[in-house]
Symmetry: C2
Subunit: 301 residues, 2 copies
Protein backbone atom coordinates (compact mmCIF):
# COMPACT_ATOMS: atom_id res chain seq x y z
CA UNK A 1 0.00 0.00 0.00
CA UNK A 2 1.22 3.45 -0.82
CA UNK A 3 0.69 5.82 2.05
CA UNK A 4 -0.60 8.87 0.27
CA UNK A 5 -1.08 11.08 3.27
CA UNK A 6 0.93 11.73 6.40
CA UNK A 7 -0.17 10.24 9.69
CA UNK A 8 -1.49 13.56 10.97
CA UNK A 9 -3.86 13.85 8.01
CA UNK A 10 -4.90 10.23 8.48
CA UNK A 11 -5.66 10.81 12.17
CA UNK A 12 -7.58 13.98 11.44
CA UNK A 13 -9.63 12.39 8.67
CA UNK A 14 -10.56 9.36 10.77
CA UNK A 15 -11.32 11.46 13.86
CA UNK A 16 -13.66 13.65 11.80
CA UNK A 17 -15.43 10.58 10.46
CA UNK A 18 -15.71 8.99 13.93
CA UNK A 19 -17.12 12.22 15.39
CA UNK A 20 -19.75 12.54 12.68
CA UNK A 21 -20.84 8.95 13.36
CA UNK A 22 -20.77 9.37 17.16
CA UNK A 23 -23.09 12.33 16.69
CA UNK A 24 -25.76 10.02 15.25
CA UNK A 25 -24.96 6.90 17.26
CA UNK A 26 -28.16 7.06 19.31
CA UNK A 27 -31.02 5.87 17.06
CA UNK A 28 -33.23 8.89 16.31
CA UNK A 29 -36.42 6.91 16.96
CA UNK A 30 -35.46 6.14 20.57
CA UNK A 31 -37.25 8.12 23.24
CA UNK A 32 -34.62 9.24 25.76
CA UNK A 33 -35.21 11.87 28.48
CA UNK A 34 -33.75 15.11 27.12
CA UNK A 35 -31.31 15.80 29.95
CA UNK A 36 -29.92 12.26 29.83
CA UNK A 37 -29.33 12.40 26.09
CA UNK A 38 -27.72 15.86 26.40
CA UNK A 39 -25.45 14.68 29.19
CA UNK A 40 -24.36 11.61 27.17
CA UNK A 41 -23.69 13.66 24.04
CA UNK A 42 -21.94 16.46 25.95
CA UNK A 43 -19.13 14.12 26.94
CA UNK A 44 -19.18 11.96 23.82
CA UNK A 45 -18.69 15.02 21.60
CA UNK A 46 -16.17 16.77 23.88
CA UNK A 47 -13.25 16.18 21.55
CA UNK A 48 -10.10 14.28 22.30
CA UNK A 49 -7.77 12.37 20.02
CA UNK A 50 -10.28 9.56 19.27
CA UNK A 51 -7.23 7.30 19.49
CA UNK A 52 -9.05 4.12 20.44
CA UNK A 53 -11.62 4.14 17.61
CA UNK A 54 -8.83 4.98 15.17
CA UNK A 55 -6.90 1.94 16.41
CA UNK A 56 -9.93 -0.27 15.69
CA UNK A 57 -10.12 1.10 12.15
CA UNK A 58 -6.34 1.03 11.56
CA UNK A 59 -6.09 -2.58 12.72
CA UNK A 60 -8.89 -3.64 10.37
CA UNK A 61 -7.24 -1.78 7.51
CA UNK A 62 -3.84 -3.30 8.32
CA UNK A 63 -5.39 -6.67 7.51
CA UNK A 64 -6.98 -5.36 4.33
CA UNK A 65 -10.39 -5.23 6.00
CA UNK A 66 -13.17 -2.67 5.72
CA UNK A 67 -13.10 0.50 7.82
CA UNK A 68 -16.91 0.72 7.50
CA UNK A 69 -17.41 -2.72 9.04
CA UNK A 70 -15.07 -1.75 11.89
CA UNK A 71 -16.89 1.50 12.60
CA UNK A 72 -19.61 0.27 15.03
CA UNK A 73 -16.93 -1.29 17.24
CA UNK A 74 -14.81 1.87 16.92
CA UNK A 75 -17.77 3.91 18.20
CA UNK A 76 -18.33 1.39 21.00
CA UNK A 77 -14.80 1.72 22.34
CA UNK A 78 -15.09 5.52 22.38
CA UNK A 79 -18.35 5.18 24.35
CA UNK A 80 -16.55 2.98 26.89
CA UNK A 81 -13.64 5.41 27.11
CA UNK A 82 -16.04 8.36 27.53
CA UNK A 83 -18.11 6.71 30.26
CA UNK A 84 -14.92 5.88 32.17
CA UNK A 85 -13.86 9.53 32.05
CA UNK A 86 -17.28 10.74 33.27
CA UNK A 87 -17.21 8.36 36.23
CA UNK A 88 -13.50 9.01 36.96
CA UNK A 89 -14.15 12.75 37.17
CA UNK A 90 -16.91 12.37 39.80
CA UNK A 91 -16.32 14.03 43.19
CA UNK A 92 -16.10 10.61 44.85
CA UNK A 93 -13.35 9.60 42.40
CA UNK A 94 -10.80 12.10 41.04
CA UNK A 95 -13.07 15.12 41.66
CA UNK A 96 -12.06 16.97 38.51
CA UNK A 97 -13.90 20.14 37.50
CA UNK A 98 -12.42 20.43 34.02
CA UNK A 99 -11.50 18.07 31.20
CA UNK A 100 -10.03 19.23 27.90
CA UNK A 101 -10.70 22.80 29.01
CA UNK A 102 -14.45 22.20 29.47
CA UNK A 103 -16.41 21.69 32.70
CA UNK A 104 -16.74 18.00 33.52
CA UNK A 105 -20.07 16.24 33.05
CA UNK A 106 -21.19 16.42 36.68
CA UNK A 107 -20.34 20.13 36.86
CA UNK A 108 -22.83 20.75 34.06
CA UNK A 109 -25.53 18.10 34.64
CA UNK A 110 -25.09 17.21 38.30
CA UNK A 111 -23.65 14.09 39.86
CA UNK A 112 -26.74 11.91 39.54
CA UNK A 113 -27.10 12.57 35.82
CA UNK A 114 -23.35 12.05 35.31
CA UNK A 115 -23.59 8.61 36.92
CA UNK A 116 -26.56 7.74 34.68
CA UNK A 117 -24.97 9.16 31.51
CA UNK A 118 -21.91 6.99 32.17
CA UNK A 119 -24.09 3.93 32.76
CA UNK A 120 -26.03 4.64 29.57
CA UNK A 121 -22.89 5.08 27.43
CA UNK A 122 -21.37 1.88 28.83
CA UNK A 123 -24.57 0.00 28.01
CA UNK A 124 -24.89 1.58 24.58
CA UNK A 125 -21.38 0.44 23.63
CA UNK A 126 -22.67 -3.13 23.48
CA UNK A 127 -25.57 -2.06 21.29
CA UNK A 128 -23.09 -0.47 18.92
CA UNK A 129 -20.96 -3.64 18.73
CA UNK A 130 -23.98 -5.65 17.55
CA UNK A 131 -24.58 -3.12 14.76
CA UNK A 132 -21.43 -4.46 13.05
CA UNK A 133 -23.50 -7.53 12.33
CA UNK A 134 -26.79 -5.74 11.59
CA UNK A 135 -25.33 -3.13 9.24
CA UNK A 136 -22.22 -4.73 7.77
CA UNK A 137 -22.83 -8.46 7.91
CA UNK A 138 -20.05 -9.22 10.38
CA UNK A 139 -20.73 -12.84 11.46
CA UNK A 140 -22.61 -13.23 14.77
CA UNK A 141 -19.78 -15.46 16.07
CA UNK A 142 -17.35 -12.58 15.58
CA UNK A 143 -19.74 -10.18 17.34
CA UNK A 144 -20.03 -12.64 20.27
CA UNK A 145 -16.20 -12.86 20.48
CA UNK A 146 -15.94 -9.07 20.53
CA UNK A 147 -18.69 -8.67 23.15
CA UNK A 148 -16.94 -11.23 25.33
CA UNK A 149 -13.54 -9.58 24.96
CA UNK A 150 -14.93 -6.09 25.52
CA UNK A 151 -16.72 -7.17 28.69
CA UNK A 152 -13.50 -8.73 29.99
CA UNK A 153 -11.03 -6.01 29.02
CA UNK A 154 -13.33 -3.14 30.02
CA UNK A 155 -14.60 -4.92 33.15
CA UNK A 156 -13.44 -6.11 36.58
CA UNK A 157 -10.36 -7.98 35.30
CA UNK A 158 -9.58 -5.10 32.91
CA UNK A 159 -10.18 -1.36 32.86
CA UNK A 160 -12.45 -1.13 35.91
CA UNK A 161 -9.99 -3.32 37.83
CA UNK A 162 -7.15 -0.98 36.85
CA UNK A 163 -9.16 2.00 37.98
CA UNK A 164 -9.93 0.30 41.31
CA UNK A 165 -6.24 -0.60 41.80
CA UNK A 166 -5.27 2.98 41.01
CA UNK A 167 -7.70 4.29 43.59
CA UNK A 168 -6.65 1.76 46.21
CA UNK A 169 -2.97 2.47 45.46
CA UNK A 170 -3.29 6.18 46.10
CA UNK A 171 -2.66 5.46 49.74
CA UNK A 172 0.85 4.24 49.00
CA UNK A 173 2.12 2.50 45.91
CA UNK A 174 5.59 1.16 46.59
CA UNK A 175 6.54 -1.05 43.66
CA UNK A 176 6.98 -0.44 39.93
CA UNK A 177 5.15 -3.72 39.31
CA UNK A 178 2.05 -2.28 41.01
CA UNK A 179 2.21 0.80 38.80
CA UNK A 180 2.58 -1.41 35.73
CA UNK A 181 -0.47 -3.43 36.79
CA UNK A 182 -2.49 -0.23 36.96
CA UNK A 183 -1.22 1.05 33.60
CA UNK A 184 -1.82 -2.30 31.90
CA UNK A 185 -5.42 -2.50 32.99
CA UNK A 186 -6.48 1.13 33.30
CA UNK A 187 -5.06 2.16 29.92
CA UNK A 188 -3.65 -0.69 27.86
CA UNK A 189 -6.53 -3.15 28.09
CA UNK A 190 -8.88 -0.94 26.10
CA UNK A 191 -6.13 -0.22 23.55
CA UNK A 192 -5.48 -3.96 23.21
CA UNK A 193 -9.20 -4.55 22.82
CA UNK A 194 -9.41 -1.91 20.09
CA UNK A 195 -6.64 -3.46 18.02
CA UNK A 196 -7.81 -7.04 18.41
CA UNK A 197 -11.43 -6.15 17.68
CA UNK A 198 -10.38 -4.36 14.48
CA UNK A 199 -8.38 -7.46 13.62
CA UNK A 200 -11.31 -9.76 14.34
CA UNK A 201 -13.63 -7.73 12.11
CA UNK A 202 -11.10 -8.19 9.29
CA UNK A 203 -10.88 -11.94 9.96
CA UNK A 204 -7.48 -12.07 11.72
CA UNK A 205 -6.14 -15.51 12.60
CA UNK A 206 -4.72 -16.20 16.07
CA UNK A 207 -1.13 -15.30 15.07
CA UNK A 208 -2.25 -11.88 13.83
CA UNK A 209 -4.42 -11.35 16.91
CA UNK A 210 -1.38 -12.17 19.02
CA UNK A 211 0.75 -9.64 17.10
CA UNK A 212 -1.94 -6.98 17.59
CA UNK A 213 -2.10 -7.80 21.29
CA UNK A 214 1.69 -7.43 21.64
CA UNK A 215 1.55 -4.15 19.69
CA UNK A 216 -1.22 -2.93 22.00
CA UNK A 217 0.61 -3.90 25.20
CA UNK A 218 3.69 -1.98 24.07
CA UNK A 219 2.03 1.19 22.78
CA UNK A 220 -0.39 1.16 25.72
CA UNK A 221 2.41 1.22 28.28
CA UNK A 222 4.45 3.67 26.18
CA UNK A 223 1.35 5.91 25.97
CA UNK A 224 0.98 5.97 29.72
CA UNK A 225 4.70 6.58 30.40
CA UNK A 226 4.58 9.39 27.83
CA UNK A 227 1.60 10.84 29.75
CA UNK A 228 3.70 10.78 32.92
CA UNK A 229 6.62 12.45 31.08
CA UNK A 230 4.38 15.14 29.57
CA UNK A 231 2.89 15.86 32.98
CA UNK A 232 6.43 16.49 34.20
CA UNK A 233 7.98 18.43 31.31
CA UNK A 234 5.15 19.11 28.84
CA UNK A 235 3.70 22.38 27.59
CA UNK A 236 0.57 23.43 29.48
CA UNK A 237 -0.85 25.19 26.41
CA UNK A 238 -0.52 22.14 24.19
CA UNK A 239 -1.76 19.73 26.87
CA UNK A 240 -4.77 21.89 27.73
CA UNK A 241 -4.30 21.10 31.42
CA UNK A 242 -1.92 22.09 34.23
CA UNK A 243 1.39 20.23 34.29
CA UNK A 244 3.11 18.70 37.31
CA UNK A 245 -0.26 17.63 38.70
CA UNK A 246 1.19 14.21 39.53
CA UNK A 247 3.93 15.77 41.67
CA UNK A 248 1.43 18.05 43.39
CA UNK A 249 -0.93 15.14 44.06
CA UNK A 250 2.04 13.00 45.15
CA UNK A 251 1.13 10.40 42.54
CA UNK A 252 3.84 7.89 41.80
CA UNK A 253 4.72 7.68 38.13
CA UNK A 254 7.25 5.98 35.88
CA UNK A 255 9.70 8.94 36.13
CA UNK A 256 9.27 8.79 39.92
CA UNK A 257 10.49 5.20 39.98
CA UNK A 258 13.20 5.13 37.28
CA UNK A 259 13.87 8.79 36.46
CA UNK A 260 13.04 10.92 33.43
CA UNK A 261 15.79 9.75 31.07
CA UNK A 262 15.19 6.06 31.68
CA UNK A 263 11.46 6.69 31.20
CA UNK A 264 12.10 8.33 27.83
CA UNK A 265 14.36 5.42 26.83
CA UNK A 266 11.60 3.00 27.90
CA UNK A 267 9.08 4.72 25.63
CA UNK A 268 11.49 4.37 22.70
CA UNK A 269 12.19 0.72 23.48
CA UNK A 270 8.49 -0.10 23.76
CA UNK A 271 7.78 1.68 20.47
CA UNK A 272 10.49 -0.36 18.72
CA UNK A 273 9.07 -3.56 20.19
CA UNK A 274 5.55 -2.60 19.13
CA UNK A 275 6.63 -1.98 15.56
CA UNK A 276 8.59 -5.23 15.46
CA UNK A 277 5.46 -7.17 16.38
CA UNK A 278 3.67 -5.69 13.36
CA UNK A 279 6.64 -6.20 11.01
CA UNK A 280 6.91 -9.84 12.10
CA UNK A 281 3.14 -10.31 11.85
CA UNK A 282 3.01 -10.17 8.06
CA UNK A 283 0.18 -7.67 7.73
CA UNK A 284 -1.08 -6.68 4.29
CA UNK A 285 -0.96 -2.93 5.06
CA UNK A 286 1.28 -2.39 8.09
CA UNK A 287 2.23 1.24 7.39
CA UNK A 288 -0.45 3.05 9.39
CA UNK A 289 0.11 1.00 12.55
CA UNK A 290 3.87 1.62 12.31
CA UNK A 291 3.30 5.35 11.83
CA UNK A 292 0.84 5.39 14.71
CA UNK A 293 3.43 3.92 17.08
CA UNK A 294 5.94 6.63 16.13
CA UNK A 295 3.31 9.34 16.32
CA UNK A 296 2.33 8.35 19.86
CA UNK A 297 5.99 8.30 20.96
CA UNK A 298 6.59 11.79 19.60
CA UNK A 299 3.31 13.40 20.67
CA UNK A 300 3.41 16.55 22.80
CA UNK A 301 -0.17 16.39 24.08
Amino acid sequence: MIVETGIRDYLKEKATWVEAELERSLPAEWHIPGALKESMMYSLMAGGKRLRPILVIAAAEALGGSAEAALPVALAVEMIHTYSLIHDDLPAMDNDDFRRGKPTNHKVYGEAMAVLAGDALLTHAFFSVVQASRKHGVPAECVADIVEELSRLAGAPGMVGGQAADMLGEQGLTKLSELEYIHLHKTSDLIIFSLKAGGRIAGADSAKLHALERFGQCIGLAFQIQDDILDLIGDEQKLGKPVQSDVKQQKVTYPYFIGLEASQAKVEELTREAKQAIVDGGFANPARLLQLADFLMNRDH
Copy 2:
Protein backbone atom coordinates in the same frame (compact mmCIF):
# COMPACT_ATOMS: atom_id res chain seq x y z
CA MET B 1 -46.70 -30.71 32.38
CA ILE B 2 -47.82 -31.66 35.87
CA VAL B 3 -46.90 -28.98 38.38
CA GLU B 4 -45.56 -31.10 41.22
CA THR B 5 -44.64 -28.30 43.58
CA GLY B 6 -46.30 -25.08 44.60
CA ILE B 7 -45.04 -21.77 43.24
CA ARG B 8 -43.31 -20.89 46.51
CA ASP B 9 -41.22 -24.05 46.39
CA TYR B 10 -40.45 -23.40 42.72
CA LEU B 11 -39.30 -19.84 43.47
CA LYS B 12 -37.21 -21.00 46.41
CA GLU B 13 -35.57 -23.78 44.44
CA LYS B 14 -34.70 -21.54 41.48
CA ALA B 15 -33.49 -18.71 43.73
CA THR B 16 -31.17 -21.11 45.54
CA TRP B 17 -29.78 -22.34 42.23
CA VAL B 18 -29.35 -18.82 40.87
CA GLU B 19 -27.55 -17.73 44.04
CA ALA B 20 -25.14 -20.66 43.93
CA GLU B 21 -24.31 -19.80 40.32
CA LEU B 22 -24.00 -16.05 41.00
CA GLU B 23 -21.49 -16.94 43.71
CA ARG B 24 -19.19 -18.43 41.06
CA SER B 25 -20.04 -16.13 38.19
CA LEU B 26 -16.65 -14.37 38.19
CA PRO B 27 -14.14 -16.76 36.59
CA ALA B 28 -11.74 -17.93 39.35
CA GLU B 29 -8.69 -17.40 37.11
CA TRP B 30 -9.39 -13.67 36.71
CA HIS B 31 -7.20 -11.33 38.70
CA ILE B 32 -9.47 -8.68 40.23
CA PRO B 33 -8.42 -6.23 42.96
CA GLY B 34 -9.70 -7.72 46.23
CA ALA B 35 -11.81 -4.77 47.35
CA LEU B 36 -13.52 -4.48 43.96
CA LYS B 37 -14.42 -8.16 43.90
CA GLU B 38 -15.70 -7.98 47.49
CA SER B 39 -17.78 -4.94 46.72
CA MET B 40 -19.31 -6.59 43.64
CA MET B 41 -20.10 -9.80 45.50
CA TYR B 42 -21.44 -8.00 48.58
CA SER B 43 -24.34 -6.59 46.58
CA LEU B 44 -24.73 -9.52 44.20
CA MET B 45 -25.17 -11.92 47.14
CA ALA B 46 -27.30 -9.59 49.27
CA GLY B 47 -30.46 -11.63 48.77
CA GLY B 48 -33.71 -10.46 47.24
CA LYS B 49 -36.37 -12.38 45.39
CA ARG B 50 -34.20 -13.09 42.33
CA LEU B 51 -37.40 -12.44 40.37
CA ARG B 52 -35.77 -11.38 37.09
CA PRO B 53 -33.49 -14.42 36.68
CA ILE B 54 -36.40 -16.68 37.60
CA LEU B 55 -38.47 -15.04 34.84
CA VAL B 56 -35.71 -15.84 32.33
CA ILE B 57 -35.73 -19.48 33.41
CA ALA B 58 -39.53 -19.75 33.67
CA ALA B 59 -39.99 -18.30 30.17
CA ALA B 60 -37.50 -20.78 28.71
CA GLU B 61 -39.26 -23.63 30.50
CA ALA B 62 -42.68 -22.41 29.36
CA LEU B 63 -41.51 -23.09 25.80
CA GLY B 64 -40.11 -26.50 26.76
CA GLY B 65 -36.55 -25.11 26.69
CA SER B 66 -33.60 -25.84 28.94
CA ALA B 67 -33.21 -24.00 32.26
CA GLU B 68 -29.43 -24.64 32.11
CA ALA B 69 -29.08 -22.89 28.75
CA ALA B 70 -31.07 -19.94 30.12
CA LEU B 71 -28.92 -19.65 33.25
CA PRO B 72 -26.11 -17.36 31.93
CA VAL B 73 -28.70 -14.81 30.78
CA ALA B 74 -30.56 -15.21 34.10
CA LEU B 75 -27.34 -14.34 35.95
CA ALA B 76 -26.74 -11.42 33.59
CA VAL B 77 -30.09 -9.82 34.33
CA GLU B 78 -29.49 -10.09 38.08
CA MET B 79 -26.10 -8.37 37.59
CA ILE B 80 -27.84 -5.53 35.75
CA HIS B 81 -30.51 -5.26 38.44
CA THR B 82 -27.83 -5.28 41.18
CA TYR B 83 -25.67 -2.61 39.53
CA SER B 84 -28.74 -0.39 39.15
CA LEU B 85 -29.48 -0.71 42.87
CA ILE B 86 -25.87 0.13 43.85
CA HIS B 87 -25.86 3.26 41.70
CA ASP B 88 -29.43 4.24 42.74
CA ASP B 89 -28.45 4.11 46.41
CA LEU B 90 -25.51 6.52 45.97
CA PRO B 91 -25.62 9.80 47.91
CA ALA B 92 -25.98 11.75 44.65
CA MET B 93 -29.00 9.62 43.71
CA ASP B 94 -31.46 8.29 46.35
CA ASN B 95 -28.90 8.48 49.19
CA ASP B 96 -30.03 5.27 50.89
CA ASP B 97 -28.04 3.85 53.79
CA PHE B 98 -29.81 0.52 53.97
CA ARG B 99 -31.19 -2.01 51.50
CA ARG B 100 -32.84 -5.25 52.55
CA GLY B 101 -31.75 -4.51 56.10
CA LYS B 102 -28.05 -4.32 55.22
CA PRO B 103 -25.86 -1.24 54.77
CA THR B 104 -25.77 -0.15 51.13
CA ASN B 105 -22.65 -0.76 49.06
CA HIS B 106 -21.20 2.73 49.38
CA LYS B 107 -21.72 2.70 53.17
CA VAL B 108 -19.45 -0.35 53.35
CA TYR B 109 -16.94 0.21 50.51
CA GLY B 110 -17.11 3.96 49.94
CA GLU B 111 -18.67 5.88 47.07
CA ALA B 112 -15.83 5.47 44.59
CA MET B 113 -15.75 1.69 44.93
CA ALA B 114 -19.56 1.53 44.74
CA VAL B 115 -19.47 3.38 41.41
CA LEU B 116 -16.81 0.98 40.12
CA ALA B 117 -18.54 -2.15 41.46
CA GLY B 118 -21.69 -1.06 39.62
CA ASP B 119 -19.75 -0.42 36.42
CA ALA B 120 -18.06 -3.82 36.73
CA LEU B 121 -21.33 -5.69 37.30
CA LEU B 122 -22.98 -3.93 34.36
CA THR B 123 -20.04 -4.86 32.13
CA HIS B 124 -19.91 -8.42 33.44
CA ALA B 125 -23.55 -8.99 32.56
CA PHE B 126 -22.60 -8.96 28.87
CA PHE B 127 -19.83 -11.47 29.52
CA SER B 128 -22.37 -13.73 31.16
CA VAL B 129 -24.77 -13.50 28.20
CA VAL B 130 -22.06 -14.76 25.84
CA GLN B 131 -21.49 -17.79 28.10
CA ALA B 132 -24.88 -19.12 26.94
CA SER B 133 -23.15 -19.76 23.64
CA ARG B 134 -19.81 -20.92 25.09
CA LYS B 135 -21.25 -23.34 27.64
CA HIS B 136 -24.60 -24.39 26.23
CA GLY B 137 -24.30 -24.03 22.49
CA VAL B 138 -26.89 -21.28 22.15
CA PRO B 139 -26.43 -19.97 18.57
CA ALA B 140 -24.30 -16.81 18.26
CA GLU B 141 -27.16 -15.12 16.37
CA CYS B 142 -29.39 -15.63 19.41
CA VAL B 143 -26.65 -14.25 21.71
CA ALA B 144 -26.30 -11.18 19.46
CA ASP B 145 -30.09 -10.63 19.58
CA ILE B 146 -30.04 -10.86 23.38
CA VAL B 147 -27.03 -8.51 23.72
CA GLU B 148 -28.80 -5.99 21.49
CA GLU B 149 -32.06 -6.21 23.40
CA LEU B 150 -30.33 -6.04 26.80
CA SER B 151 -28.35 -2.96 25.79
CA ARG B 152 -31.56 -1.29 24.60
CA LEU B 153 -33.88 -2.24 27.46
CA ALA B 154 -31.25 -1.65 30.19
CA GLY B 155 -29.85 1.48 28.52
CA ALA B 156 -30.79 5.07 27.69
CA PRO B 157 -34.14 4.22 26.01
CA GLY B 158 -34.86 1.66 28.78
CA MET B 159 -33.98 1.26 32.44
CA VAL B 160 -31.42 4.09 32.68
CA GLY B 161 -33.86 6.39 30.87
CA GLY B 162 -36.58 5.46 33.37
CA GLN B 163 -34.23 6.18 36.23
CA ALA B 164 -33.31 9.56 34.71
CA ALA B 165 -37.00 10.44 34.18
CA ASP B 166 -37.74 9.44 37.79
CA MET B 167 -34.96 11.72 39.03
CA LEU B 168 -36.00 14.59 36.80
CA GLY B 169 -39.63 14.10 37.77
CA GLU B 170 -38.96 14.44 41.49
CA GLN B 171 -39.33 18.17 41.08
CA GLY B 172 -42.97 17.83 40.13
CA LEU B 173 -44.66 15.00 38.31
CA THR B 174 -48.14 16.05 37.36
CA LYS B 175 -49.51 13.39 35.06
CA LEU B 176 -50.24 9.69 35.43
CA SER B 177 -48.78 9.17 31.95
CA GLU B 178 -45.42 10.49 33.23
CA LEU B 179 -45.51 8.07 36.13
CA GLU B 180 -46.35 5.21 33.76
CA TYR B 181 -43.42 6.16 31.55
CA ILE B 182 -41.10 5.91 34.55
CA HIS B 183 -42.55 2.57 35.68
CA LEU B 184 -42.42 1.11 32.19
CA HIS B 185 -38.76 1.89 31.74
CA LYS B 186 -37.39 1.82 35.28
CA THR B 187 -39.03 -1.47 36.19
CA SER B 188 -40.86 -3.19 33.34
CA ASP B 189 -38.18 -3.01 30.65
CA LEU B 190 -35.84 -5.36 32.51
CA ILE B 191 -38.75 -7.71 33.28
CA ILE B 192 -39.74 -7.69 29.60
CA PHE B 193 -36.13 -8.34 28.64
CA SER B 194 -35.95 -11.30 31.05
CA LEU B 195 -39.03 -12.98 29.63
CA LYS B 196 -38.14 -12.43 25.98
CA ALA B 197 -34.52 -13.54 26.48
CA GLY B 198 -35.70 -16.75 28.14
CA GLY B 199 -38.04 -17.21 25.19
CA ARG B 200 -35.25 -16.54 22.69
CA ILE B 201 -32.99 -19.13 24.34
CA ALA B 202 -35.80 -21.66 23.92
CA GLY B 203 -36.27 -20.70 20.25
CA ALA B 204 -39.49 -18.65 20.55
CA ASP B 205 -41.02 -17.38 17.31
CA SER B 206 -42.15 -13.78 17.01
CA ALA B 207 -45.72 -14.54 18.14
CA LYS B 208 -44.47 -16.12 21.36
CA LEU B 209 -41.98 -13.28 21.90
CA HIS B 210 -44.87 -10.87 21.52
CA ALA B 211 -46.95 -12.80 24.08
CA LEU B 212 -44.02 -12.74 26.52
CA GLU B 213 -43.60 -9.02 25.96
CA ARG B 214 -47.28 -8.38 26.69
CA PHE B 215 -47.04 -10.58 29.79
CA GLY B 216 -43.97 -8.61 30.90
CA GLN B 217 -45.58 -5.21 30.34
CA CYS B 218 -48.57 -6.21 32.46
CA ILE B 219 -46.78 -7.89 35.35
CA GLY B 220 -44.09 -5.17 35.33
CA LEU B 221 -46.62 -2.39 35.82
CA ALA B 222 -48.63 -4.52 38.29
CA PHE B 223 -45.40 -5.14 40.21
CA GLN B 224 -44.69 -1.45 40.52
CA ILE B 225 -48.23 -0.51 41.51
CA GLN B 226 -48.14 -3.30 44.10
CA ASP B 227 -44.88 -1.77 45.41
CA ASP B 228 -46.66 1.57 45.76
CA ILE B 229 -49.57 -0.13 47.56
CA LEU B 230 -47.26 -2.03 49.92
CA ASP B 231 -45.39 1.17 50.74
CA LEU B 232 -48.73 2.64 51.77
CA ILE B 233 -50.37 -0.25 53.66
CA GLY B 234 -47.74 -2.99 53.88
CA ASP B 235 -46.13 -4.62 56.91
CA GLU B 236 -42.76 -3.09 57.82
CA GLN B 237 -41.48 -6.40 59.20
CA LYS B 238 -42.30 -8.33 56.04
CA LEU B 239 -41.02 -5.58 53.72
CA GLY B 240 -37.76 -5.16 55.65
CA LYS B 241 -37.97 -1.40 55.16
CA PRO B 242 -39.96 1.51 56.59
CA VAL B 243 -43.41 2.01 55.05
CA GLN B 244 -44.97 5.26 53.89
CA SER B 245 -41.61 6.47 52.61
CA ASP B 246 -43.27 7.66 49.39
CA VAL B 247 -45.63 9.91 51.36
CA LYS B 248 -42.78 11.21 53.52
CA GLN B 249 -40.65 11.91 50.46
CA GLN B 250 -43.67 13.41 48.69
CA LYS B 251 -43.24 10.96 45.82
CA VAL B 252 -46.21 10.63 43.52
CA THR B 253 -47.47 7.09 43.14
CA TYR B 254 -50.30 5.19 41.55
CA PRO B 255 -52.46 5.43 44.73
CA TYR B 256 -51.69 9.17 44.81
CA PHE B 257 -53.22 9.60 41.37
CA ILE B 258 -56.15 7.15 41.37
CA GLY B 259 -56.58 6.11 45.01
CA LEU B 260 -55.86 2.86 46.84
CA GLU B 261 -58.89 0.84 45.74
CA ALA B 262 -58.57 1.68 42.07
CA SER B 263 -54.85 0.83 42.31
CA GLN B 264 -55.67 -2.59 43.76
CA ALA B 265 -58.24 -3.15 41.01
CA LYS B 266 -55.64 -2.13 38.42
CA VAL B 267 -53.19 -4.73 39.75
CA GLU B 268 -55.87 -7.39 39.41
CA GLU B 269 -56.82 -6.28 35.91
CA LEU B 270 -53.17 -6.26 34.75
CA THR B 271 -52.64 -9.71 36.22
CA ARG B 272 -55.66 -11.05 34.34
CA GLU B 273 -54.40 -9.48 31.13
CA ALA B 274 -50.92 -10.92 31.66
CA LYS B 275 -52.27 -14.42 32.14
CA GLN B 276 -54.50 -14.08 29.09
CA ALA B 277 -51.46 -13.30 26.93
CA ILE B 278 -49.85 -16.56 28.04
CA VAL B 279 -53.04 -18.61 27.64
CA ASP B 280 -53.54 -17.23 24.13
CA GLY B 281 -49.84 -17.77 23.28
CA GLY B 282 -50.08 -21.56 23.13
CA PHE B 283 -47.08 -22.30 25.34
CA ALA B 284 -46.05 -25.92 25.98
CA ASN B 285 -45.80 -25.41 29.75
CA PRO B 286 -47.68 -22.25 30.71
CA ALA B 287 -48.39 -23.18 34.36
CA ARG B 288 -45.39 -21.53 36.06
CA LEU B 289 -45.84 -18.20 34.29
CA LEU B 290 -49.53 -18.17 35.24
CA GLN B 291 -48.70 -19.00 38.85
CA LEU B 292 -45.99 -16.34 38.88
CA ALA B 293 -48.45 -13.65 37.82
CA ASP B 294 -50.80 -14.59 40.66
CA PHE B 295 -47.95 -14.84 43.12
CA LEU B 296 -46.74 -11.33 42.29
CA MET B 297 -50.25 -9.91 42.67
CA ASN B 298 -50.67 -11.48 46.09
CA ARG B 299 -47.18 -10.82 47.47
CA ASP B 300 -46.82 -8.96 50.76
CA HIS B 301 -43.16 -7.96 50.35
